[in-house]
């Protein structure tokens, strides 16, 4: 190999302009833009050209309820995930690195376990004759089984569990970057622990919360397996409805319209969040 070629690898002569980006742009175009456009096209042409699919979606109380459910579940899951993840992330950020990496491994390990297996495990735990209800009834704490499954409670528990790593990871990154001296300084200036948390730690960790929160929220919007298994029919989310339209009703036009509406609303929320928190801080968190 010539010296020139080696240099060519080390310092590319092509300016990082459109030419160098072409493969990446083609990939995005072929696998992301084209399918979305095809989806949009189908939603206004199947079964006949026109906006009747959107009219059907927006004019029907059922679909409105399913949309509402979808955003309600995603919001509840995001909030609970933040509340649970924050203390864990803080602990991971301040504990000795060796111990932290073991705990990290345990958290990541759960992500590698099959999603369906984990969801079924929750079913076994949460159902009326499940482990939790049996234990509580055996201990005499309750005499009727608690309704923990086939409702919003079940969906929230199952989904928070699955989403936790996606919140903890960006949050730990943000928290580790915070200089611990800031908290010591706050204490020295007479701030109570609560005030130090509220006025120092929380604002500084906001980019991590925002990054993780957005990721959890957006992933939750499209979730299918967990709500289908742990929720009741009155908690039906959009992904399940779309699957019904595509797989069993073969109403691809309506399914495409529903998917496109979800996409647009999600992107609008993303844009809103970028404006509120700032693009650089959001992406810089992790």
């Amino acid at each position: 190999m010539s010296v020139e070629a080696q240099q060519g690898i080390a310092t590319p002569r092509i300016p990082a302009g459109l030419g160098g980006l072409l493969p990446a742009l083609m990939l995005i175009g072929l696998f992301f833009v084209v399918p979305v456009l095809a989806l949009l096209l189908r939603s206004v042409t199947d079964p006949a050209p026109g906006l009747q699919n959107y009219a059907a979606l927006l004019g029907d109380g059922t679909y409105a309820r399913v949309f509402f459910n979808t955003f309600l579940v995603a919001a509840v899951v995001t909030i609970v995930t933040v509340l649970v993840a924050f203390p864990v992330a803080w602990m991971l950020a301040i504990m000795p690195p060796a111990l932290a990496s073991i705990l990290f491994g345990i958290i990541i390990l759960s992500m590698w376990t099959n999603l369906l297996t984990r969801t079924y495990a929750w079913m076994v735990l949460l159902q009326r004759t499940g482990v939790i209800n049996r234990a509580l009834m055996g201990a005499g704490i309750i005499d009727q089984p608690l309704p923990l499954i086939n409702n919003l409670t079940g969906v929230t528990i199952g989904m928070v569990y699955i989403m936790l790593p996606f919140m903890i990871l960006p949050l730990v990154g943000t928290l580790r970057a915070i200089d611990p001296m800031t908290l010591r300084a706050a204490a020295l200036c007479g701030a109570s622990p609560l005030a130090a948390f509220r006025r120092i730690l929380l604002p500084l960790s906001l980019p991590g919360i925002a990054a993780g929160g957005l990721m959890v929220f957006v992933m939750s919007l499209g979730y299918f397996v967990t709500p289908a298994l742990l929720g009741g029919t009155s908690n039906m989310m959009l992904a399940e409805m779309i699957a019904q339209m595509i797989q069993s009703l073969l109403n691809w036009g309506l399914g495409s319209a529903a998917a496109f509406v979800l996409l647009v609303v999600t992107m609008a929320l993303y844009a809103l969040q970028l404006r509120l928190v700032g693009a650089r801080r959001t992406t810089g968190g992790a």
């Binding site: 095809a38 109380g61 059922t62 159902q127 004759t129 009155s234 069993s248």
Partner: protein, 334 residues
């Protein structure tokens, strides 16, 4: 653009494209497909030399995508009969070649131009004996929460069955079920809505009843049969058992149509049907099959309960599938 989209979809799915002396059979997985493999595919491969690749589960969306994209990788598919009637109308199915598949002994209820019966089954009332005191005797008892408290489980998807059960429980005579009075059915279902646990698949229905999570429910008779075989403490009532069928179809443009027709002939033969019924507890759709089955197996089949049997109207359902489904899911989501 539509084609590109469907093409990409089908391309991604084309995991099991079959070669010349091969074909692909697709069914619902689980114990049913296992029985189909053992009773139909294996003997057929041995006698014909045609290898049968198994795929699944059946997915109507995939089937449509394959046909639309003209890239069909399934040759024989097990589907619900009301879907088959609708799919034939939409031009998604090949006609059955009755020169290859003998028609004379097939139960006419479960075969038509584009489909031959796979097996037929009944929805029966099953219960966990430990969780229910007394014996529920009719669908009306499933709506009587005072006499029979506890959760009851029904089939989750919009399909022939639950609507009819609600109407029968409300006193509609069996011969007056169709056209279905949906308002009346949903009103009846409203009375027990908070006590319903839905099952989405056969294994789930078994788990719910066996664990007592649901005290009783509407189950496929083959699933109750399997529970009894496993020694679960379940009771079953065949009163007003409701028949429906799975059928075998060949998607339009299937690449191994000739092999597929030969496979259908083997699957619907008296021997194929007898073996499958023995393994699954579902009823044969070939009228000559019973002669080849042990007497005690015949006793456990829906065939033994014809006097209390009601045939769900597949043609009615095929006609009104979408309309009923829209109302069904709207009601569920309420």
């Amino acid at each position: 653009m539509k084609l590109i989209f469907a093409g990409i979809l089908a391309g991604l799915m084309a995991t099991t494209a079959a070669k010349a002396d091969e074909m692909v059979f697709t069914s619902w997985g689980g114990t049913t497909q296992e029985a189909q493999t053992k009773s139909w595919a294996e003997p057929f491969s041995a006698s014909s030399g045609i290898k049968v690749l198994q795929d699944g589960p059946t997915d109507y969306g995939k089937l449509k995508a394959m046909v639309d994209a003209k890239n069909v990788t399934w040759d024989v598919v097990d589907v619900e009969m009301d879907f088959a009637i609708k799919a034939a109308k939409d031009g998604l199915l090949e006609p059955i070649d009755f020169a290859v598949v003998p028609k004379a002994d097939l139960d006419p209820r479960f075969s038509n131009e584009n489909a031959v019966g796979s097996f037929y089954y009944s929805f029966v009332l099953a219960w966990n004996k430990g969780a229910v005191s007394g014996e529920p005797a009719s669908w009306a008892d499933m709506f009587d929460t005072k006499k029979f408290p506890g959760k009851r489980t029904f089939y989750k998807w919009s399909a022939p069955g639950v609507i009819e059960i609600a109407l029968l429980a409300d006193g509609v005579p069996a011969d007056k079920l169709y056209p279905l009075d949906l308002d009346r059915a949903f009103k009846k279902l409203d009375t027990i809505k908070s006590d319903i646990v839905w099952w989405g698949g056969g294994a789930e229905s078994q788990q719910l009843i066996a664990s007592g999570e649901a005290a009783f429910g509407q189950l496929w008779n083959g699933r109750v049969f399997a529970l009894e075989k496993d020694g679960a403490d379940v009771g079953v009532s065949w009163n007003q058992n409701l028949t429906a069928a799975d059928v075998l179809v060949v998607p339009k443009g299937a690449k191994n149509k000739d092999a597929a027709m030969k496979f259908l002939a083997a699957a619907t033969s008296p021997t194929g049907q007898a073996k499958f019924a023995e393994a699954s507890g579902y009823a044969p759709i070939n009228t000559k099959a019973k002669a080849e089955m042990p007497a005690e197996v015949v006793k456990g089949l829906p065939d033994a309960h014809v006097e209390s049997q009601i045939n769900l109207d597949m043609n009615y359902w095929a006609e009104h599938r979408d309309e009923i489904a829209t109302r069904w899911y709207a009601w569920q989501a309420k």
